[in-house]
């Protein structure tokens, strides 16, 4: 794993050749986000856009993820922002369509097939078998975000562990924890 520090500004240097391959890869990933939402595909998305193609840097990826988490709305929006970082507004549109298109088509097919039924035994076995894998993948997401956060040292890890402990021990809204992280950054703790 190399720490590529390619910085591309979507405003002036969109990676145009990236659109089609990014769309296909993200659409594939959308089908793999089962049992853990779309957070669990972040490590592979990062591997793809940072390590394999050098379209953006690991730091840009972590920043995009953090910005999206700080905003209201569904948590797939980091993918929109990653698409924007890679190829401007066309990239944002492509990434969003890729991550929403296949699941939306499947959801419509599902609701047409069975109007109001709870998952059956086969679906339950699928979920039961996939949930442990999802857990491992969400841990991997936390890990790669920490590695790429631009503060991969003792202090960055301390802030991350503190944030995790606060979320696990209290019922505070995560947005305040993110704000506290920003304050800690400005105050020079990270």
């Amino acid at each position: 794993m190399e720490g590529a520090l390619v910085t591309s500004d979507p405003a002036d240097a969109p990676v145009s050749g990236a659109l089609a391959p990014m769309f296909v890869h993200f659409a594939l990933l959308s089908l793999m986000a089962i049992g853990g939402g779309v957070v669990m595909v972040a490590p592979d998305m990062q591997r793809y856009v940072v390590d394999a193609h050098h379209w953006i840097s690991a730091e840009q990826f972590s920043a995009a993820f953090a910005l999206a988490q700080a905003a209201p709305g569904p948590n797939f929006l980091y993918i929109t922002l990653v698409g924007w970082e890679v190829a401007g507004f066309a990239g944002a549109a492509a990434a969003t369509l890729a991550i929403l298109g296949p699941p939306t088509a499947l959801s419509i097919a599902m609701v047409r097939a069975s109007s109001n039924r709870a998952p059956g035994p086969v679906a339950r076995a699928v979920v039961k078998g996939l949930v442990p894998i999802s857990v491992g993948l969400v841990f991997a997401t936390g890990w790669i975000l920490l590695r790429g956060s631009g503060s991969w040292d003792f202090r960055g890890a301390t802030v991350a562990l503190l944030a995790a402990a606060i979320i696990l021990r209290t019922k505070i809204n995560p947005v305040w924890v993110i704000a506290a992280g920003a304050a800690a950054g400005i105050a020079g703790f990270v």
Binding site: A70, A71, T104, S107, N116, A125, P132, G136, I167, A184
Partner: protein, 210 residues
């Protein structure tokens, strides 16, 4: 009031139910009976949920759909959520699509999904543009570094919470460990890891190995 149980063939065939976007507040929801709602009302309602959803939209969706608007009975929300989680993709978006479809067909699902997605997307892109505009300022850089570390912690906390649903048994723990090491440490493609680990996990779950 309960005579219109059009159960069976089609997903939305409740006949003769007063549309709930008419002036009077919607009736208490009848389990199993999806209300009919206009795409515009769906779009606005889901936009509102999405914009309230700092740090996770699902609790706001529950509050709006079940408690405030009475569009769904509690048990129907639970069923819808379970199916949305089984489907691949963002859970809240799957839920929006399926609810919207039952309320107003294809147009309803697109309206609900559009409401869930469009305004938050504009906000996130605005943040991205602002970041590129002001990212050179030391304070902005430092704030974002701190935010990134905190968000990494939030995700680790999410993983810890999810792992509570997994019993402390050697099989599921091994599955988690293989996924973490393969994708997080060895940086193998997710497709390859899933292709190997998922069939094993599903088979062992089916045979009740934990």
């Amino acid at each position: 009031m309960c005579e219109a149980h059009g159960h069976g063939s089609g997903p939305i065939e409740v006949v003769g139910v007063t549309p709930s976007w008419t002036s009077s507040p919607p009736r208490a929801s009848i389990p199993g009976v999806p209300p009919k709602i206009s795409p515009l009302v769906l779009f606005l309602a889901f936009s509102q949920m999405a914009l309230s959803g700092f740090g996770g939209v699902m609790p706001f969706a529950y509050r709006a759909l079940v408690e405030r608007r009475h569009w769904l009975a509690r048990e129907d929300f639970a069923k819808l959520l379970a199916v949305s989680q089984v489907m691949p993709g963002p859970t809240i978006c799957n839920l929006s699509v399926m609810f919207g479809y039952r309320a107003a067909g294809i147009r309803g699902s697109l309206a609900a999904l559009g409401g869930m997605v469009m305004l938050p997307m504009a906000i996130v892109l605005g943040l991205g543009v602002a970041w590129h505009e002001f990212g050179a300022l030391p304070a902005v850089r430092e704030a974002l570094t701190g935010m990134s570390a905190a968000v990494a912690g939030l995700i680790l906390a999410t993983a810890m919470k999810m792992s509570r649903a997994v019993p402390p048994h050697v099989v599921p723990i091994s599955l988690s460990a293989v996924a973490f090491v393969g994708v997080g440490l060895m940086r193998l493609p997710l497709i390859a890891v899933i292709a190997v680990v998922a069939p094993i996990g599903i088979f062992l779950a089916w045979r009740e190995h934990w």
